[in-house]
């Protein structure tokens, strides 16, 4: 009897601890997002998006160059990274299906996707910034693209694997060549998954700072030239948050708020869509 009692108490004790850890995790999430929303939302106004940087101490500036720069750098990364990831994933799931090489590349791609992003930055610095002789928005995009490719590759591989093999055979049986089967049948069947994969890849890189520190660098002026250094939202947040001025801190919170809301929404919406589409 006492033994049973002891076991029951132990049971409740550990289940409580496990529940507490779960709430600890939730607590951190709520605390971080809460602070971000309180500090960030209160600093949001239209000037943030239309005004250029103000000189230190003069307050009242906006983050327009950073927003535009972020958009340019991320879109360029998208244009480079998504097609490569998509095609690479297609090779692994289609032409290379079941081959040892494809499996190896798929594994290597997972590893490549987890390489510290700052290392990617140093690599691009050595290969692009050094050779061209100057920092540029384009080199930043390239660094982000390298981070993006493995993400898109993996999603493509998974999504194409979900398309029933028989569907491809049905197309082959009508005399369709493989490339038409891929572009007309397989991609179309997996379109929702591929689209959300692309969105998730963007969400993955949109908040990256480290790989931009010594590639796209920074720019105190508004610039649209991708061969020159360019301000990005994330590097600007870093610079402003580490700076000594209160106005800067406010702007950093506001920028962080915008970028986090964007990333969380993109993540949540794509997860919701994928869950609904592939529930069965």
């Amino acid at each position: 009897m006492t033994n049973l009692k002891k076991r029951k108490i132990t049971n409740i004790f550990f289940l409580t601890i496990s529940t507490l850890t779960a709430f600890l995790g939730l607590f951190w999430l709520v605390m971080i997002l809460g602070d971000l929303f309180i500090q960030g939302a209160s600093s949001i106004n239209w000037k943030l998006f239309v005004d250029d940087f103000a000189p230190p101490g003069f307050g009242d500036g906006g983050l327009r160059p950073a927003f535009v720069g972020q958009l340019i750098i991320v879109s360029t990364a998208f244009i480079i990274g998504i097609p490569i990831g998509l095609l690479g994933g297609t090779f692994i799931a289609e032409y290379g299906r079941n081959s040892k090489t494809a499996k190896l590349i798929s594994t290597l791609s997972d590893l490549a996707g987890s390489i510290p992003s700052i290392v990617v930055g140093t690599f691009i610095y050595a290969v692009i910034v050094r050779t061209t002789g100057h920092f540029s928005a384009f080199s930043g995009s390239l660094a982000l693209a390298l981070i993006m490719i493995p993400v898109m590759l993996k999603t493509t591989e998974n999504m194409l694997n979900l398309v029933p093999w028989q569907l491809r055979e049905a197309a082959f049986a009508l005399g369709a060549p493989y490339y038409k089967v891929i572009f007309q049948i397989v991609y179309k069947s997996a379109s929702v998954g591929l689209l959300t994969g692309a969105v998730l890849s963007v969400a993955r890189i949109a908040g990256e700072t480290a790989p931009l520190l010594f590639t796209s660098l920074n720019n105190t002026f508004f610039s649209l030239n991708i061969t020159k250094p360019m301000a990005s939202l994330t590097v600007t947040i870093y610079r402003y948050a580490m700076g000594p001025y209160n106005d800067w801190h406010k702007l950093a919170w506001a920028g962080s708020f915008v970028i986090t809301v964007f990333i969380l929404l993109a993540t949540l919406i794509s997860r919701f869509i994928v869950n609904r589409r592939y529930k069965n």
């Binding site: 090779f91 930055g121 949109a206």
Partner: protein, 311 residues
């Protein structure tokens, strides 16, 4: 007619094959190129300070152009191990909660909430750490630790110094929060692999929920959980921004957790654009190489564990 059409099919098919294969082969190509470039750039530092000599020297002096990576390596090891010590038990607890305790209807929302922690950009963690966590640490938590654990012999040594909140402890705390979702999601997936009939037969002979978890679920998914922890380690080792805000970029080996320090990634982030001599930048590349190799080894190990746990 027919054969012309089929020839064009064949040509387009070949083109598609080569295009997709080339895209896939970019992955190993970049990995090899990255390793090669980092090694090449590290050569001057390797020659001057030595492969091992660099790693055991604590001097980091840009003025005299003498560099050793020991302090950054030390900082990285301390911050990531502490982070893992905080994160691993929490993450496993969370995975247990999600798979065994949480009501079914809440399961997926809860999983999503924990995974959201992973999608918050690291710069947000860093900023939150600087503006919110560091003041709390310096005014409440660290003085409390000094008053309690700090009084103990030996253990007290790691709680010495003025608690300013910009230190190893704060950095590890933030890093642990960031690492939790990675470990938790791998652990959760491994727990889910435990065969239902094993769990049911344990309940069948009168085991309590905790006994089922401890004696069936955990042993069964052990390898997967280890893989998750190593994955977390691999992720934590390379984390830059979250740590850069709250570590103070100090190139000294300090014993106290209330001391400022630096890790490999934060050193790169802070000094790469300032490096004004070839040997300085080469030393930084050597640090990047160490980081690349160690994270690659950790992540491959994690991958190996996860492939074994699925069998």
């Amino acid at each position: 007619m027919k054969s012309a059409k089929n020839n064009s099919f064949e040509l387009k098919n070949k083109t598609t094959l080569y295009l997709t294969a080339a895209s896939a082969y970019i992955i190993p190509l970049i990995l090899i190129l990255m390793l090669a470039v980092l090694i090449y750039e590290s050569i001057p530092a390797l020659k001057k300070f030595g492969l091992i000599g660099f790693m055991i020297s604590t001097t980091w002096n840009p003025v005299k152009n003498v560099f050793g990576g020991a302090s950054a390596v030390y900082g990285t090891v301390v911050v990531t191990s502490l982070a893992l010590i905080f994160a691993a038990p929490t993450a496993v607890g969370i995975a247990v909660f999600i798979t065994q305790i949480c009501p079914k209807q809440l399961k997926s929302s809860f999983s999503t909430a924990i995974e959201l922690l992973a999608s918050i950009p690291s710069i947000i963690y860093g900023m939150w750490g600087l503006f919110v966590l560091a003041p709390i640490m310096s005014s409440h938590i660290e003085p409390f630790l000094q008053k309690t654990l700090g009084k103990l012999p030996f253990v007290g040594l790691v709680f010495k110094g003025t608690p300013i909140g910009i230190d190893l402890l704060t950095a590890s705390t933030i890093l642990s929060i960031m690492t939790i979702p990675f470990i938790a999601s791998v652990a959760r997936d491994s727990f889910e692999l435990t065969p239902k009939n094993l769990i049911e037969s344990a309940y069948g002979i009168g085991a309590t929920k905790w006994e089922v978890i401890k004696d069936i679920v955990l042993p069964y998914s052990k390898i997967g959980v280890y893989g998750g922890i190593i994955l977390g380690l691999g992720r934590a080792v390379g984390e830059t921004m979250a740590v850069a805000f709250v570590l103070g970029n100090n190139h000294k080996i300090v014993l106290s957790l209330f001391g400022t320090s630096s890790t490999i990634p934060t050193t790169l982030a802070n000094e790469f654009t300032e490096a004004d001599s070839d040997i300085y930048i080469s030393s930084l590349f050597y640090l990047a190489l160490i980081l690349f190799v160690s994270s690659f080894i950790l992540l491959s190990t994690a991958k190996y564990f996860s492939s074994r746990s699925k069998k």
